[in-house]
Symmetry: C2
Subunit: 216 residues, 2 copies
């Protein structure tokens, strides 16, 4: 049974509807991000997400056309949050060693600040390094960008004279990444309460070894 | 149709049959190891392995009772190979810095020496850190053992006087792991031809910073 005619419908508030849709999309991405951080992105199916959200699969499909679109949007959301929480605030520190240090400490803390149980970007790197395709391309792009930003900050610390002129920014970025990776292993595999302290020690040693003029 | 009776069967050569069984098991584990290194251990189903081996699922079940048994046996096989290729040969180096260096360089090279496209232990660590259960326990045990062996080698290098007395072996192991992790990312995500060179640079800097007497 259906009513003969809709009773003089109000014009749809288009702006408001869009906001509601954006809200739903954001809520789906938040759930997806939490799930992918610890379970990986292959476990991120439209079905699993629909159940988590109490939505129909078709409702979810309206926001993300395919599993791959959902995976990529989730990874992009991870990068967006890292940028907001870990990168932008570091730019408030003055150029030079202070900014390098701010970048590192915020990187170390960003998952906690984002209330994530693990790093969704590192998870994607582990899962897709050996699988060519859009997910691999996306994670490579995000990680490369972070490497470049660290290199840029290190270059500025060389320019301010705080780091030695022969400092190799790409080597520092390589080592900084390793410290973060080891910190994650200490945190998540060993449940080591000193994981962050070890990472900060390692970082200060890394910086100190570039402050000392090289002996040749 | 079946023959009425087997024609005077030879007594089964039990020893040979066992060897054949062991060979099959080893071949399955080899295929499993290659698959898990790049695709992860959840992708390691009895079905996938049976297809790879051209065996029936029940034939595979005769060797590994369950998917989990197969996963654990594969991870144990990874640790066994690492020990054979990366650890035992390092013990030929004299105690002290030479052994620390041998441990590190063989660690860096072990996947290549084992003809593996990636590290199956690091893969397990990424996949199971957040999933309590036997796989998580197994990978934690293997990684802890490696950390302890590195710490022991560092302690001996302190005892020989090659490293400074205030060297913290657990911190060195933490940082060495990070260098390896960053090397894997450079190799597999960035296809960086200088990945190993960067790792060796980082390791030499790590060693050098512990050879210098601390300034207090």
């Amino acid at each position: 049974m259906r009513t003969a005619e809709p009773a003089s419908p109000q014009p749809r508030p288009l702006g408001a509807r869009q906001t509601k849709g954006e809200e739903t999309r954001a809520a789906i991405l938040d759930a997806a991000l939490r799930h992918a951080s610890t379970h990986g992105y292959e476990a991120l199916t439209i079905g699993v997400l629909a159940e988590k959200m109490g939505m129909s699969k078709s409702g979810l499909f309206a926001h993300f056309g395919s599993k791959e679109d959902l995976q990529i949007a989730t990874l992009d959301e991870a990068a967006r949050r890292y940028t907001a929480v870990g990168f932008i605030p570091a730019l408030a520190a003055p150029r030079g060693l202070k900014r390098v240090r701010a970048l590192f400490t915020l990187w170390l803390e960003w998952t906690e600040r984002s209330e994530l149980a693990a790093c969704p970007i590192m998870a994607a790197s582990a899962e897709y390094s050996h699988r060519p395709g859009p997910m691999r391309d996306t994670v490579e792009e995000h990680v490369r960008r972070l490497h470049l930003e660290i290199m840029k900050a290190v270059e500025m610390a060389v320019a301010t004279g705080e780091l030695a002129p022969d400092t190799q920014p790409d080597q520092v970025a390589f080592e900084a990444f390793g410290i973060i990776a080891s910190c994650y292993q200490a945190r998540y595999l060993f449940h080591d309460p000193r994981a962050n302290a070890r990472a900060l020690n390692a970082f200060e040693r890394l910086v100190a070894s570039h402050q000392v003029p090289p002996t040749r």
